[in-house]
């Protein structure tokens, strides 16, 4: 039924701040991506992006405080999938993000996470409007065959 219809879907996962859950986020995404219409060829890259965002939330946002939580939201509305990773930290100054590919940064061991995310999603926004929370939003536009869910009733 409705094979071409882009139906609403909402997924949310809340965990305490531990890096051990990063694998869980990835398994979860691999399990549900097909139904969200994510094409197979983007799956590994989007999983990488989600790992980076979740790791940042745990490490930089919540500073590994297990009393704080990481919230993961994935929504499909029409032809767009929006993924948000929330932490309970104060966010950061975007203007301080440096380009890891510039010669002076190339040999730095860190600072590639957000850069990689930006390569693999169709839009990134930082969300600061929710009190006590900082969010990273990643948008994925569904195009072509991947936009239509497969299934039958």
């Amino acid at each position: 039924m409705d094979n071409g219809t882009a139906e609403d879907l909402t997924l949310r996962l809340v965990v305490q701040s531990h890096l051990r859950y990063t694998d869980l986020f990835e398994s979860l995404c691999r399990a549900v991506f097909p139904e969200f219409g994510i094409p197979e060829e983007r799956t590994d890259w989007l999983c990488l992006s989600i790992r980076e965002a979740v790791n940042n939330a745990v490490l930089h946002g919540n500073r590994k405080d297990p009393a704080k939580t990481v919230e993961f939201e994935m929504e499909r509305r029409g032809r767009e999938v929006t993924i948000r990773v929330w932490d309970e930290g104060g966010g950061f100054d975007r203007s301080k993000l440096s380009d890891p590919t510039s010669p002076e940064n190339l040999l730095r061991p860190s600072g590639r996470g957000i850069f990689l995310i930006r390569q693999f999603v169709d839009g990134v926004r930082f969300l600061t409007e929710r009190p006590g929370h900082f969010g990273m939003e990643m948008r994925v536009r569904l195009t072509g065959a991947g936009a239509a869910p497969q299934g039958e009733e």
Binding site: L19, R20, T22, D23, D44, L48, R51, E52, N55, P100, T101, L106, L107, R108, P109, S110, R112, G113, F115, L116, Q119
Partner: protein, 113 residues
């Protein structure tokens, strides 16, 4: 991540497999390379053929190992990058930092040549 270390003449080969991600394989990889450096090895090939997934921390540890090596006058070359890891090296421009080879043989020969 699992590994195998062996020598090819004067060249140490470190064969890594599995996933190299934050908290699982990234630090271990750096330590493995560090151990080779501490053991006095001067030529190291890291065989990434079995590495299925690497994240920014894995890339970062590779860079850290590279700079440690350079400080110690040790040369590290990479071999057997999968398409995905090769893409990551291009995207991050780390391809311009590392010498990469299609096979361990080619990497080892590049030292001997």
């Amino acid at each position: 991540m699992s590994f195998k270390a062996y020598d090819r003449g004067k060249v140490s080969v470190l064969e890594l497999s599995g996933r190299i991600t934050l908290g699982s394989g990234d630090v271990k990889m750096r330590e493995l390379i560090k151990a080779q450096i501490d053991a006095g090895k001067k030529q190291i090939v890291v065989d990434l053929g079995g590495v299925s997934f690497i994240d920014s921390s894995g890339l970062g540890e590779l860079v850290a190992a590279y700079t440690t090596a350079r400080r110690n006058h040790v040369s590290i070359k990479l071999a057997n990058l999968t398409k995905k890891i090769d893409d990551l090296m291009e995207i991050t421009r780390l391809a311009s930092v590392f010498d990469t080879y299609g096979s361990v043989d080619e990497a080892v020969e590049s030292f001997n040549g």
